[in-house]
C-alpha cells in the first residue's frame, strides 16, 4: 500500500494508506483511551471514547480513531480541548450508568470526574459488545447477541435461557472489561451465570485436573475434524 503523509499532534509522519488512526497512534506510543476496541476483533466504534479531531482544508470534524482509515493527508489531534470535552462527557454518562465498574471509575478519576450530574443506575455492563463479537468472530458459535433496542439493549442468550450453541469456553468473560461476566469452575462444572451456562469439565488424562468443558471439546473435534485423542491432555501437560 502506498504511503501518505499526515500530521498527528503536531508531528508530521508517514503511514501506510488505509491504516487506522488508532493503529498509527499505538505504533507511536500515543495514548488514546478505548473501551470497545480489541486488537483481535473488527473495530466496533460503539463507545466513542477514542474520538479524535481531524482537519483538512480549514474544516474539522470528530471521528473515532479505531476505525477511521487514513487515506489522504489530514491533521489529527488526539488530545485537543474539544476531544477532551467529548471524552469526559462519555465517561460521565457511563459513570452514571455503571458507577461501580472499576474500569469506568478509573477513567473517571483520570479525567477528574467526581460525581456524575445524572441519576445513578447500577449496571455492570457497558454494552461494549466485546463478548458478542468474540463469540461471533473468534469462537464462531454466536451463542449470545444484543437483545432489544436503545436504552433497553442488553446482551443475552436467545430467550435468556441456556444456549444450545454455547460451548462454555469463557471467551466472553475473558474479553469483558468490566467483570460483568464471571466464570466459576467448581467441582468439575463450569458456570457462566450471566449467560445461563453450566457445563461439566473434562479431566486431563495426565495430571487429572479439570481443564475444558466437554461441549467445547466436542465442538473443537467437529470443527477441526481431529480425533478426540488430541484433546485429552491439558495445555500444561501437552508435550
Amino acid at each position: 500500500m502506498p504511503k501518505i503523509g499526515i500530521i498527528i499532534d503536531g508531528n508530521r509522519i508517514e503511514v501506510e494508506q488505509g491504516t487506522t488512526i488508532l493503529d498509527t497512534a499505538k505504533e507511536r506510543g500515543i495514548y488514546i483511551p478505548t473501551l470497545c476496541y480489541h486488537e483481535s476483533l473488527e473495530p466496533y466504534a460503539a463507545c466513542r471514547l477514542c474520538t479524535v479531531e481531524v482537519s483538512r482544508g480549514g474544516r474539522s470534524k470528530m471521528v473515532t480513531a479505531c476505525n477511521y482509515p487514513l487515506r489522504e493527508e489530514i491533521e489529527v489531534k488526539t488530545d485537543s480541548e474539544r476531544v477532551r470535552r467529548i471524552r469526559r462527557t462519555i465517561v460521565e454518562l457511563l459513570l452514571a450508568s455503571c458507577p461501580n465498574v472499576k474500569i469506568i471509575r478509573d477513567l473517571a478519576k483520570e479525567m477528574d470526574i467526581e460525581e456524575p450530574r445524572f441519576k445513578k443506575e447500577e449496571n455492570d455492563c457497558i454494552l461494549c459488545g466485546l463478548c458478542v463479537r468474540a463469540c461471533s468472530e473468534i469462537v464462531g458459535v454466536e451463542a449470545i447477541s444484543f437483545v432489544g433496542r436503545g436504552v433497553d439493549r442488553e446482551v443475552d442468550t436467545p430467550f435468556r435461557v441456556t444456549s444450545e450453541a454455547c460451548i462454555c469456553c469463557g471467551s466472553c468473560a475473558y474479553v469483558c472489561p468490566t467483570g460483568a461476566i464471571e466464570i466459576e469452575d467448581k467441582d468439575g462444572v463450569r458456570e457462566i451465570k450471566k449467560f445461563h451456562a453450566s457445563q461439566p469439565l473434562e479431566r486431563c488424562k495426565v495430571c487429572g485436573n479439570y481443564f475444558a468443558p466437554r461441549v467445547q471439546i466436542d465442538w473443537m473435534t467437529k470443527k477441526l475434524n481431529l480425533p478426540r485423542e488430541n484433546f485429552e491432555v491439558c495445555p500444561t501437560c501437552k508435550p
Binding site: 466504534a45 460503539a46 463507545c47 466513542r48 471514547l49 474520538t51 470528530m62 471521528v63 473515532t64 476505525n67 477511521y68 482509515p69 474539544r82 470535552r85 467529548i86 462527557t89 462519555i90 454518562l93 457511563l94 452514571a96 450508568s97 450530574r117 445524572f118 441519576k119 454494552l127 459488545g129 444484543f146 432489544g148 433496542r149 436503545g150 436504552v151 433497553d152 439493549r153
Partner: protein, 619 residues
C-alpha cells in the same frame, strides 16, 4: 389480452396511442382519491356507491371510475375530480353519490354544496382554481390524480416509461452528466447532490453494484413518500431503472416501512406489471440491460431510514448503522458499491431526463433546484401534501396555500425536518424554503414534514416529545446517543413536570455538543436540533417552566390546572359523567356551583373535550 413485452421506443409510443384511443370512448372520467388517508375518511364507501350508481344508470361504457392515490388535499377527502372539465367535489358521503351521477355526470349540472368554498366565500368549480392547488407546482404529485396505481396503462397513457426509453438511447455518462447539471439534491433529508452520488458509485470498484430506494419514511408528520408510492409507484420504479442503467447495476431494492401496507402492495403490483411489459427483467427494451427490483419490508425501526442501517436490515441483520468514513457508494450493501436515494429523488429523475437539466434548473433557488413536496400538517386550515418550487417562503406555504392557522389563532412555530430538524419562529416566516437557508437557522429541510404549531403548543413539550421519540428509536449502539438522549429526556421531563432547575438549559446545550460531535450516525448527531432551536427561539418558555414553574401554553400537566368558567357553565352536568376520577361536582342547572377538585383531577382533559360550551379553562 396478455401484454406483449415492449421492445423499443416506437412500440411504447404505439401502445400509448392505442391506449389513449381506447379511452376516448369514455367521455367522463371520475378520479376518486382512495389512498390510505382517503380510506380512513370513508372514501371506500363513496367509491362503492359510485360503482353501484354507474351500474344502475348503465353508464359503464361511458364513465370510467379511476381509483387513484392521494391528490394532496387530505383535509377535504373523500374527494373527486370529474373530467373532462375538472370539476372538484369534496368532503363526500355515500349519500351524495346518486345526485352526483344523475346531475353532474348525466346532465352536466353543478352541485353547489359540494363545491370548494374559498376563505372569501367564493365557490370554485375547477380543481385547478382551488387556491390550495393554485400556488403549488405539482410536477410530480400532480400525476397522482391521473393514474390508477395498479394500472400500468394509465401510467403509459401519461407518458410513463418514455424517460426510460430516452435514457436507454443515451450513454450512461451523459445521463449522469445531465443529473449532475440539474443539481438535483437528495430529497430524503441529506440534500446530497444526486449526480455526484451516482458518479461516485459508477466509478467505484466492485461488482455487483446495487441501487436502493429508501422508502422508510420515518419522520413523524411526513408522508410524501407514502403518497408517491401508493399513488404512482411506476414513477419511482422508472427513476430507479434509469439510475441503475447509468450506474451499471442489475439489482435494485425498495425498502418500504411496514407501517405502509398499501404502499407495499402497490409497489409489488407495479413491479409485476413492469416485468410483464418488459420494463424490468432481462434485456429491457432490447437494450441489453438487465435489471430487477426486490421489495424489502421494514420492521418498525426509525433508525432504518439511515442508509447504513437500512442496508444492514436488507442484509438480514438488525438495523445498526456503521461508520461512513468509507461511503456506501464505495462499500455498501454486502460490501459492494451501492447507490441509495429517497423515493421523491427517484421520481425527480424522470423530469430531468424528459425535459433536460436546463429546464429543471430554472425552478428553485441557486442552491436548491426543482420542487419539494411537503406535508403541511398540524394547526393549519388546509392540511395535506403540497408541492412547491424551492425558494417559496414559509409564509406563502402556511398562509396562502395552507390558509392560515385553524380558528385564526396565533402562529407560533413551524417544525421542519422531523426529529432531526428544528422549530422556526414567526420572525423567520419569510425565510425561503431551501436546503441551505433552513440549515443556516438551525433546522433542516429533512424529508419534508412541516408541522404548524399555534399558541396552544408548548415548545418545551415539543422538545421533550422529540427526545421521547428518539429514545424509543435509538438503536442503542453508541454511548452518546443511547445514554445522552436518555439523560436529556430526563432533564426535559423534569422541566415539564416542574422540577427544572438552574443550569438545566446549559447542561442540555453541553450534552447537545457531545451528541452532535460524537454520535455514530445522523440520528444522534441531529438529535439536539429540536432542543437547540427551541432554546434559541423560545428561551422565555423554558425560563417560565424552570423559574416560575409555569407552562404559558397551558400544556404541561403538572404545571396547569383545569377550572370551570362559571360565566359560561350552565350546569348541564355533562362533564361530571365523563370525569374518570369523579373530580367534578355541582348542582344541576346551577352553573356557578360546578367546581373541579384539584386533588382528584388527573388533568386528562376529557372535560375540556366534552364540554360544548367552552366552559372548561386551563391555566
Amino acid at each position: 389480452m396478455s401484454p406483449r413485452k415492449i421492445r423499443n421506443k416506437d412500440e411504447l409510443e404505439e401502445l400509448k396511442a392505442s391506449i389513449l384511443q381506447k379511452r376516448e370512448q369514455k367521455r367522463t372520467v371520475i378520479a376518486i382519491s382512495v389512498g390510505t388517508c382517503g380510506l380512513a375518511r370513508g372514501a371506500g364507501e363513496v367509491m362503492a356507491a359510485f360503482r353501484e350508481e354507474i351500474e344502475k344508470h348503465d353508464l359503464s361504457d361511458e364513465v370510467y371510475l379511476r381509483e387513484t392515490g392521494c391528490h394532496g388535499f387530505c383535509e377535504k377527502e373523500p374527494l373527486i375530480v370529474i373530467y373532462p372539465n375538472g370539476i372538484f367535489y369534496h368532503s363526500l358521503r355515500p349519500k351524495d353519490v346518486p345526485e352526483i351521477v344523475s346531475e353532474t355526470v348525466v346532465k352536466g349540472n353543478i352541485i353547489d354544496r359540494l363545491l370548494y368554498k374559498s376563505l372569501t366565500g367564493e365557490k370554485i368549480i375547477c380543481e385547478e382554481d382551488v387556491p390550495f392547488y393554485k400556488k403549488q407546482k405539482r410536477l410530480i404529485l400532480g400525476n397522482n390524480r391521473k393514474v390508477d396505481p395498479t394500472d400500468i396503462e394509465d401510467y403509459i397513457a401519461i407518458g410513463g416509461y418514455s424517460a426510460l426509453a430516452k435514457a436507454l438511447s443515451m450513454s450512461r455518462e451523459k445521463i449522469i452528466e445531465e443529473v449532475k447539471k440539474s443539481v438535483l439534491r437528495g430529497r430524503g433529508g441529506g440534500g446530497f447532490p444526486t449526480g455526484i452520488k451516482w458518479e461516485t458509485c459508477r466509478n467505484a470498484a466492485g461488482e455487483p453494484k446495487y441501487v436502493l430506494c429508501n422508502a422508510d419514511e420515518g419522520d413523524p408528520g411526513a408522508y410524501m413518500d407514502r403518497a408517491l408510492l401508493e399513488g404512482n409507484p411506476h414513477s419511482v420504479i422508472e427513476g430507479m431503472i434509469i439510475g441503475a442503467y447509468a450506474i451499471g447495476s442489475a439489482q435494485g431494492f425498495v425498502y418500504v416501512r411496514n407501517e405502509y401496507p398499501l404502499a407495499l402492495k402497490n409497489v409489488w403490483i407495479a413491479i409485476e406489471k413492469a416485468k410483464e411489459y418488459g420494463f424490468l427483467g432481462e434485456d429491457i427494451l432490447c437494450s441489453g440491460f438487465d435489471f430487477d427490483i426486490e421489495i424489502n419490508m421494514g420492521g418498525g425501526a426509525f433508525v432504518c431510514g439511515e442508509s447504513t442501517a437500512l442496508m444492514a436490515s436488507v442484509e438480514g441483520k438488525v438495523g445498526e448503522p456503521r461508520a461512513k468514513y468509507i461511503h456506501t457508494t464505495e462499500s455498501g450493501l454486502w460490501g459492494k458499491p451501492s447507490n441509495l436515494n429517497n423515493v421523491e429523488t427517484w421520481a425527480n429523475v424522470l423530469l430531468i431526463i424528459n425535459k433536460g437539466a436546463e429546464w429543471y434548473n430554472k425552478i428553485g433557488t441557486e442552491g436548491s433546484k426543482g420542487t419539494k413536496i411537503f406535508s403541511l400538517v398540524g394547526k393549519v386550515k388546509n392540511t395535506g401534501l403540497v408541492e412547491v418550487p424551492m425558494g417559496i417562503t414559509l409564509r406563502e406555504i402556511i398562509y396562502e396555500i395552507g390558509g392560515g392557522i385553524i380558528k385564526d389563532k396565533k402562529f407560533k412555530a413551524a417544525q421542519t425536518g422531523g426529529p432531526s430538524g428544528g422549530c422556526i419562529p414567526e420572525s423567520l416566516l419569510d425565510l425561503p424554503v431551501d436546503f441551505d437557508e433552513l440549515t443556516k437557522i438551525g433546522s433542516m429541510m429533512g424529508s419534508g414534514g412541516m408541522i404548524v404549531m399555534d399558541e396552544g403548543t408548548c415548545m418545551v413539550d415539543v422538545a421533550r416529545y422529540f427526545f421521547n421519540f428518539l429514545r424509543e428509536e435509538s438503536c442503542g449502539k453508541c454511548v452518546p446517543c443511547r445514554e445522552g438522549i436518555k439523560r436529556m429526556l430526563e432533564i426535559l421531563t423534569d422541566i415539564t413536570e416542574g422540577r427544572g432547575k438552574k443550569g438545566d438549559m446549559e447542561l442540555l446545550e453541553e450534552l447537545s455538543e457531545v451528541l452532535r460531535d460524537a454520535s455514530l450516525c445522523a440520528l444522534g448527531t441531529t438529535a439536539p436540533n429540536p432542543v437547540l432551536t427551541t432554546i434559541k427561539y423560545f428561551r422565555e418558555e423554558y425560563e417560565a417552566h424552570i423559574k416560575d414553574k409555569k407552562c404559558p401554553a397551558g400544556v404541561c400537566k403538572e404545571l396547569i390546572q383545569y377550572f370551570i368558567d362559571w360565566e359560561k357553565c350552565t350546569g348541564c352536568d355533562r362533564c361530571v359523567g365523563y370525569c374518570p376520577e369523579g373530580a367534578i361536582t355541582g348542582e344541576k342547572k346551577k352553573g356557578d356551583t360546578y367546581i373541579i377538585n384539584q386533588n382528584k383531577c388527573i388533568k386528562c382533559g376529557v372535560c375540556l373535550d366534552m364540554c360544548k360550551l367552552d366552559a372548561v379553562i386551563v391555566r
